[in-house]
């Protein structure tokens, strides 16, 4: 059995079903993200693991112990909140020592442990400060040290970086991941930011409307999204409507052109099907290995430094193209005619839009 096991968890507030049939197995030392839009039930799921909410149905098991009916203070989980939640009446040292004091750790060992953790988050020099004397990033480091101090079984992070400004957000995420690896602590991380989830996690759980849409390693989430929702939520997409010609052979008609996808499609012949392409799978220039080539007119050119983002109209649709900008070459001008192309194997086949709303 895995280290943290969540099975069949459902939670409703009154008539509002917030989490439905949530299953997840997390291995010891693994870093797993819950990713999804705001209101999809991520925080609720995390709070169920922490013990702040009790599930309407289902179980939570940690290191073989069923904790479903255990109060939060008996679970040995560490929690980090978006709002830091440092104790304002305590210094940095006292904050980190709080959990150790409760656990009855003797003073010399407690001091050693606090010093070790403050060293780890790089705040040894600030141990006598109070929360109002710290920046957001520093407060969140203290909160992390405080959560880790009593050696919890599982570390729970609820959007810990969302309140920070962009630069610190990126540097702290690298740092948090390093500390997590060093300690080998099993971690559940909640975020609505796909970049955060993809860059930090061993595995990502994509949630929508209280349900799990896909659980997979980051590159699979991006490259092989299991559902239309995942494809659309993680990364940008160009969508194309096509018709199935032969489902078994995987041939489809895209604006009159027959394309071989090279794999079976789960549809019947003649059915409408949605295909998707990541912006970086579309090319302009250097089209030698492309199976599909179309004439296009550039409508917009955005120069983003290392990346060039183009918009072009081709076959009646507007598509987005990302490419690396090449040194010594000026970006193309809007309005110019060009040729774009892609490889048929890069096309994602999305599940059909459900016929009835709901």
């Amino acid at each position: 059995m895995s280290y943290l096991s969540i099975s069949g968890v459902t939670k409703s507030f009154g008539s509002n079903l917030v989490v439905q049939g949530f299953d997840l197995e997390v291995e010891r030392g693994e870093f797993v993200s819950l990713l999804g839009p705001s209101g999809c039930g991520k925080t609720t799921m995390l709070r169920i693991v922490a013990g702040f909410e009790s599930p309407s149905a289902g179980r939570v098991v940690m290191s073989g112990e069923d904790v479903t009916n255990l109060t939060p203070n008996k679970r040995r989980v560490g929690m980090v909140f978006q709002s830091y939640a440092l104790f304002p009446n305590m210094s940095v040292f006292e904050n980190v020592a709080f959990g150790l004091k409760i656990a009855g750790i003797p003073r010399p060992e407690l001091e050693r442990r606090v010093a070790e953790l403050l060293e780890m988050v790089g705040l040894s020099a600030l141990k006598d400060r109070y929360s109002y004397q710290l920046s957001g990033g520093q407060q969140q480091r203290v909160a992390l040290a405080r959560a880790l101090a009593p050696r919890p079984r599982v570390l729970l992070l609820d959007e810990p970086l969302s309140a920070l400004d962009a630069q610190i957000r990126v540097s702290l995420r690298t740092e948090m991941r390093q500390i997590q690896r060093e300690l080998g602590i099993t971690t559940l991380f909640v975020t609505h930011d796909q970049e955060e989830a993809l860059s930090m996690s061993d595995r990502v759980v994509v949630m929508n409307g209280g349900r799990v849409e896909q659980v997979d390693v980051p590159h699979r989430i991006y490259q092989a999204p299991a559902t239309r929702f995942v494809a659309g939520f993680v990364g940008a997409l160009n969508l194309f409507e096509a018709k199935v010609i032969n489902a078994a052979k995987g041939t489809v008609a895209l604006s009159g052109v027959e394309i071989a996808l090279g794999r079976k499609v789960p549809h019947k012949a003649g059915e409408a099907i949605t295909l998707a392409l990541r912006p970086e799978a579309l090319r302009h220039g250097g089209l030698e290995d492309c199976d599909v080539v179309l004439p296009a007119i550039l409508s917009d050119v955005e120069f983003l430094g290392s990346v060039l983002r183009l918009r072009a109209s081709a076959g009646g649709a507007t598509v987005m193209i990302d490419s690396f900008s090449t040194a010594g070459t000026a970006p193309p001008v809007p309005g110019s005619a060009t040729t774009i192309g892609f490889r048929a194997s890069d096309l994602l086949v999305l599940d059909p839009v459900p016929a009835q709303a709901g």
Binding site: F52, N73, F81, A85, P88, N89, G99, R146, A147
Partner: protein, 261 residues
């Protein structure tokens, strides 16, 4: 301009209180007042009653406000309205209600004994100061995000009691002290309740003196005013104090510096 409406009579009162001895400034009126045994009795009685009202009020308000914020956030507007009622209902209505409810012919005849009547008056003060105490404590809780702090403490292994004692209470101390000073300034000179319940409190004494003396009331008024302001200043100092700071940081620093040199 606006301040002069307030300051001129105040200054006049103070000046008048110094003129008891013809043709010279003196604190004679103050000496007379402070030498009056009744003054000392009523002032200590009222101080005691106010203190009791503060303790009872805090013991009722803090757990209530905490519980409502933590478990019944939807009930907050209702509770808030209830705590505002004492501002809407005049104290005179309150006290007649009390006398009817707890009078000699009632089920719980509190007014027949001295202790019972004292208790009734203290409870009345608790009710009168409820809007202020509740607001002070509730605002204090709003500032520190009580729910998340409670969860943070619990996830670190703390029991509910431990959380209240080592996290919630210390962070509410300045809010409770603000509420306490407000309660004190309301109940210390209170007249209606005290006089209708026939207590020997400071409020009725003040009125009595006002009726048959000239200079002493002015002296009393000046002292009461100074006391109220003292309360306000202390309240501000406490309310703005940050953790890890002394109450009067510069003063303490200076004393420390002197003792070391």
């Amino acid at each position: 301009m606006a301040a002069s409406y307030f300051l001129v009579p105040l200054y006049a009162t103070f000046q008048f209180s110094l003129q008891m001895q013809r043709g010279q400034w003196s604190f004679e009126a103050y000496r007379v007042v402070l030498g009056d045994q009744r003054f000392l009795n009523t002032i200590s009685y009222s101080a005691l009653a106010s203190l009791a009202a503060i303790i009872v009020g805090a013991l009722i308000v803090v757990p209530t406000a905490y519980w409502v914020r933590l478990k019944l956030p939807r009930l907050r507007p209702v509770i808030e309205f209830v705590t505002l009622l004492p501002l809407i209902i005049p104290p005179i209505v309150l006290v007649f209600g009390y006398i009817r409810m707890y009078g000699s012919s009632s089920l719980l005849p509190l007014t027949v004994s001295d202790a019972g009547t004292n208790l009734l008056m203290v409870m009345g003060y608790v009710v009168l100061s409820l809007p202020y105490m509740y607001r002070a404590v509730d605002n204090g809780m709003a500032v520190i995000n009580i729910a998340t702090l409670t969860e943070a403490a619990e996830s670190l292994g703390a029991s509910r009691l431990r959380t209240v004692l080592s996290v919630i209470f210390p962070n509410l101390r300045s809010a409770i002290i603000s509420g306490a000073f407000l309660t004190f300034s309301i109940s210390f000179g209170e007249f209606v309740l005290a006089s209708l319940l026939n207590r020997d409190a400071f409020g009725p004494y003040l009125v009595l003196i006002g009726q048959d003396r000239a200079y002493e009331p002015a002296a009393l008024a000046s002292m009461t005013f100074a006391l109220t302001w003292g309360c306000m200043v202390l309240m501000q100092l406490y309310a703005n104090r940050k953790p890890g700071q002394r109450l009067l940081p510069r003063l303490f620093a200076r004393i420390k510096g002197k003792s070391q040199s």
